[in-house]
Symmetry: C2
Subunit: 471 residues, 2 copies
C-alpha cells in the first residue's frame, strides 16, 4: 500500500508500445506518455522473420550493400537525346509493347493498362479500332513485356511501342543506359488508359515534331547532366515524382535557347515550347529515366539487399533487389489514398500503377516529400505530413544522399537506397506519391495521392536472399 501511495505521488511517466491511442489518452489527461514505434519484424510473419534473422547482421550483405550503394550514389545520368524506341531500346521488337510493372499477360491487365495497349496498337496502325486491337492482343499477336526488362521505365500504364520517341539517358560512370517515354501532360493521356483520337493524334505529333525537336536541343547542348537539375528542383519545392514544375522549368530554360540557336523551324519550336511550358509534369519521365540509370548501376551486386526497382502493373506490385538478379517479388497492388478530380471518387480508381515508383526507389518522390510542401495540395495531407514521410523513410534506407539535399530538413540529404532488410525489420513500408487512373480503359487520370509498397514483396526478397546466402 505504501508503494502504491508513493507511485501516485509522482507524475505518471509512461512508455507505450502497441496502440498509439493508449498514449494519447494519457497525454490528454495531463500525464506524460511517449509512444514507442515498434512492431514485430515482418509484421509478425514468422517465416520472413526467421529469414531476416539469418541476414539482418550479415557482414556479407553489409559489404555487398556498400558496393551497390556506392555505385548507385556515384552514377551520373546524362540526358543524351531522343530516339525511336525500336532502334534505341535493346531487345525491343517490331510487334512488341512494353508496359509498366512486373510481367503480366494481356487478359490479366487492369483497365487503364488495356486501354493504353489498345491506344498504342491504334497509334502503330496495327488496328483501326479498339475491338480489332483487343482481338490481336487476345490472339497472341503482340509480345507484352515489362519496360524494366529493357532498361526502360514508363509512368502509369507505361506503354512504349516501337515507333514512339523515347528519352535516352546514359550513365558514363558505369556504362549503362536507360530509356523512358515522353510525357503527354495531364488528363486524357495514353498512360492513364485514354485512347481517343486526340490522344493518338498527340502521340503522332510527339513522334514527328516534339521528339526530333528535343533531340536537336539536347544534342546541341552536348547532353544534359540530370542530377544537378533534380538537386535544384528539390530546392524549389519539387520531389520529382508527382511535382515536377520546377524541374520542368529548369529544363525549359536550357532547351528553349538551344532550340532557337539550332535554328529549328519557328512553328515547330513554338509548338514544342508551348507544349512543355503548359505541362508541369514534362520532366517526370526524364526524372524516372535518371533514377533507373542510377539504380541499374547498383543492380546485380551479389548478396546485396539494396532495392533497385519498385514497379506496379495495376494488379501486382513488384520489387527487384540488387542481389537477386532478374527475380520479381510481387504482391497485390495497393489502393491509393488521395484527392480526386471533380466528379470522381475512390470507387473509380484503379489500383497503384506505373514504373514511376522508381523515383522513390532512388530516394526522391515520396522519400523527398519534405522538400515539396506544396504537393499536399495535389496528393492530400499537410506540409507536416510531408516532412514526416521523409523522416520516416530514413529508417529503411542505407543512408542519406548528399547529392539531393532538402532545405526544410536543414539541408539533410534525401533518404535513399532502400534496404529490404530494414523494411522487413521495421515494418515501415516505402511511401509513394502517385497519380490515380480510372479503373476502366479509355478514361484517364482521376486524381493523385499516396500509397505504400506492400511488405510482402520485401519479405519475399529477404527470404530469397537469405536462402541464396545460406546455400
Amino acid at each position: 500500500m505504501a508503494m502504491v501511495n508513493k507511485f501516485f505521488e509522482q507524475d505518471l511517466q509512461v512508455i507505450n508500445v502497441g496502440l498509439p491511442s493508449f498514449a494519447e489518452s494519457i497525454n490528454e489527461t495531463g500525464g506524460k506518455a511517449i509512444h514507442l514505434e515498434w512492431a514485430p519484424p515482418a509484421h509478425g510473419d514468422r517465416a520472413a522473420g526467421f529469414a531476416l534473422a539469418q541476414i539482418v547482421n550479415s557482414q556479407v550483405v553489409d559489404e555487398a550493400n556498400q558496393v551497390a550503394y556506392e555505385r548507385f550514389l556515384s552514377a551520373r545520368p546524362i540526358l543524351k537525346g531522343v530516339g525511336q524506341a525500336l532502334t534505341s531500346i535493346p531487345g525491343m521488337g517490331e510487334r512488341m509493347l512494353l508496359h509498366a510493372g512486373p510481367p503480366i499477360a494481356w487478359e490479366s491487365m487492369c483497365g487503364p493498362m488495356q486501354g493504353a495497349m489498345i491506344g498504342a496498337m491504334v497509334y502503330e496502325g496495327w488496328a483501326s479500332t479498339a475491338e480489332e486491337a483487343r482481338t490481336q492482343a487476345a490472339n497472341g499477336k503482340i509480345a507484352f513485356e515489362p519496360c524494366h526488362h529493357h532498361s526502360a521505365v514508363g509512368p502509369m500504364a507505361g506503354a512504349i511501342s516501337p515507333s514512339m520517341p523515347v528519352w535516352i539517358v546514359e550513365n558514363p560512370e558505369h556504362g549503362n543506359q536507360s530509356f523512358s517515354s515522353m510525357n503527354e501532360g495531364l488528363g486524357k493521356a495514353l498512360r492513364f488508359g485514354a485512347n481517343e483520337p486526340a490522344v493518338i493524334e498527340r502521340l503522332r505529333w510527339m513522334q514527328s515534331a516534339l521528339g526530333p525537336a528535343m533531340d536537336a536541343a539536347v544534342k546541341a547542348l552536348g547532353g544534359i547532366d540530370l542530377k544537378p537539375i533534380i538537386a535544384q528542383a528539390l530546392h524549389m519545392g519539387d520531389e520529382c515524382h508527382n511535382r515536377n514544375v520546377a524541374a520542368t522549368s529548369i529544363l525549359f530554360k536550357r532547351l528553349a535557347p538551344a532550340l532557337v540557336k539550332a535554328g529549328w523551324p519557328l512553328d515547330e519550336s513554338a509548338s514544342a515550347l508551348d507544349f512543355i511550358a503548359g505541362n508541369d509534369h514534362f520532366f517526370l519521365n526524364i526524372s524516372m529515366a535518371a533514377c533507373k540509370a542510377m539504380l541499374d548501376a547498383g543492380h546485380g551486386v551479389e548478396g546485396s539487399s539494396l532495392v533497385t526497382a519498385m514497379a506496379r502493373n495495376g494488379v501486382e506490385f513488384g520489387v527487384r533487389m540488387s542481389g537477386t538478379g532478374d527475380a520479381w517479388f510481387t504482391a497485390p497492388a495497393p489502393m491509393v489514398e488521395g484527392l480526386f478530380f471533380a466528379g470522381y471518387s475512390a470507387a473509380d480508381a484503379a489500383l497503384d500503377l506505373g514504373d514511376s515508383a522508381i523515383t522513390e526507389t532512388a530516394g526522391i518522390g515520396g522519400f523527398a516529400m519534405g522538400a515539396a510542401p506544396a504537393i499536399v495540395q495535389f496528393v492530400g495531407g499537410t506540409p507536416q505530413d510531408a516532412i514526416g514521410f521523409t523522416r520516416e523513410m530514413a529508417h529503411i534506407t542505407l543512408g542519406l544522399n548528399n547529392n539531393f539535399t532538402l532545405p526544410s530538413l536543414n539541408f539533410a540529404g534525401s533518404p535513399a537506397g532502400i534496404d529490404a532488410r530494414k523494411v522487413v525489420d521495421t515494418g515501415i513500408c516505402p511511401v509513394i506519391n502517385t497519380g490515380i487512373a480510372h479503373k476502366e480503359p479509355g478514361i484517364g487520370q482521376v486524381g493523385a495521392g499516396i500509397t505504400r509498397a506492400p511488405l510482402a514483396c520485401f519479405a519475399q526478397a529477404v527470404t530469397s536472399l537469405s536462402e541464396k546466402l545460406g546455400s
Copy 2:
C-alpha cells in the same frame, strides 16, 4: 519559513521579462521558464511612446487602414511592356538620374551609388571618364531625384537614366502605373556601383536588344498578370526579393514561346533567352515594380498608418506612410549581416542600400522567407530562422495576404501591410533580405544578408500622424 519550504517543494515555474538569458539559465538547470517577448513601446523613446498612445487605439486610423489595406490587397499589377525611361516615366528629365531611397545630394551619396551615377553618365554619353562625370555631378549639371518620386523603383543604387529601358507595370484596378530598371545579373553590375566598360556595354545591349525583345514578347502576350507568378514562386521556394529563381523560370516559360511566335530575329532571341536563363535574379525588378504598384494603390489615405515604402540610399533608410503623403521619415541606414563572397568581409560592405525593400513593404521578401528555406544558403541563418522571421512579421502587419500563401506555414497568407503603430508598439522592426554592395564605387556586389529597418523611421512616422490627427 514554512512558505519558503513550500515554494521549494514545487517545480519552479518562471515567466521571464527582459534579458532572455535569465530564462535560458533556468531552463538549462532543469527549471521551467517561459520568456515573454516584451519591450517598452518605441524601445523606451518617451515622446514616440506618447505620440503612439494618442493613435494606437484610434478608430479613425483603424478605418483608414482598412481602406488603404483593401486597396493594397485588391491591386492587380500587370506587366505591360518595356519603354524608354525618358518617355515612359512621368516627370523624367533629359539630364536627370533617378536613384534609390530617400532624397540625397551627389556629395552625400555612398560609394556604390556614386559609382552607379558615374556609370549612368558614361552610358548616356554625358561624360567619357569617371572624372568628367564627377565634375558634372559636383557642378549641379545633373538633377538627382529618388525613383520613388517618379512611381519607379530600382534595386541597390537604383540608377535609372533617360535612355534606359524600363519595365512598365499597370494596376487597372486603381489606374496607377509603376516602373523599374531591368536586371543586369549578379557580380559586376551598375546597381552595385560597378561602371567598367563591360557594365556599360551590357547596358547598351539591354537598351538596343533585350528591352525591345521583352517589349515585343510581353505585348504579344497581351500583358502578364504578376500576382499569380509571385504566388506560384512562393510555392517554389522564392521569396521574390533575394531569391527569384522560380519566378524568373515561370516568366521565362511565358516569354520564350512568345518571342519565338513573334518571329523575333533568331540571334537576338537567342541572346535575350540566354541572358534571362543565366540570371536567376531577372524577375527581381519586376517583382519590385509589382509591389510598388500594389503599395501606391494604398497610398494617400488620410489617417492611415500603413507603410507604403521602405527604401535606402546607402546613407539613410527612409519610410513613407499612406496617411502622411510625400514625407520621408529617415534614420541612418543599418549594416547588413550576411554571407560574403570569397575575398570580401563586413569591412568591405556598404550600408543597407536600394529600393528593393519595397518587396518587404508588400509582404514578400524577408516577410515571406518561410516560403524560401533554401535562401539561407545565400543570406545566412537556418531554415528555421526563415520561418521564424515570417511568424515574427505577422505581429506588425495589418493582416495575412491570402493572395500569397506559404506552404511551409500550412498555406497561411504572407504577413503584409506594415502598420507603423505596431512597429513602434512592439519594437519589432521589419526584416529585410538584401544584397550587399562594396562600399567603394566601381567594385560591385560582395555578399547578401539580412537587416532590419530602423525603429526611428516608424517612431517619426507615428509622431507625424499623431500630430496631424491631433490638430
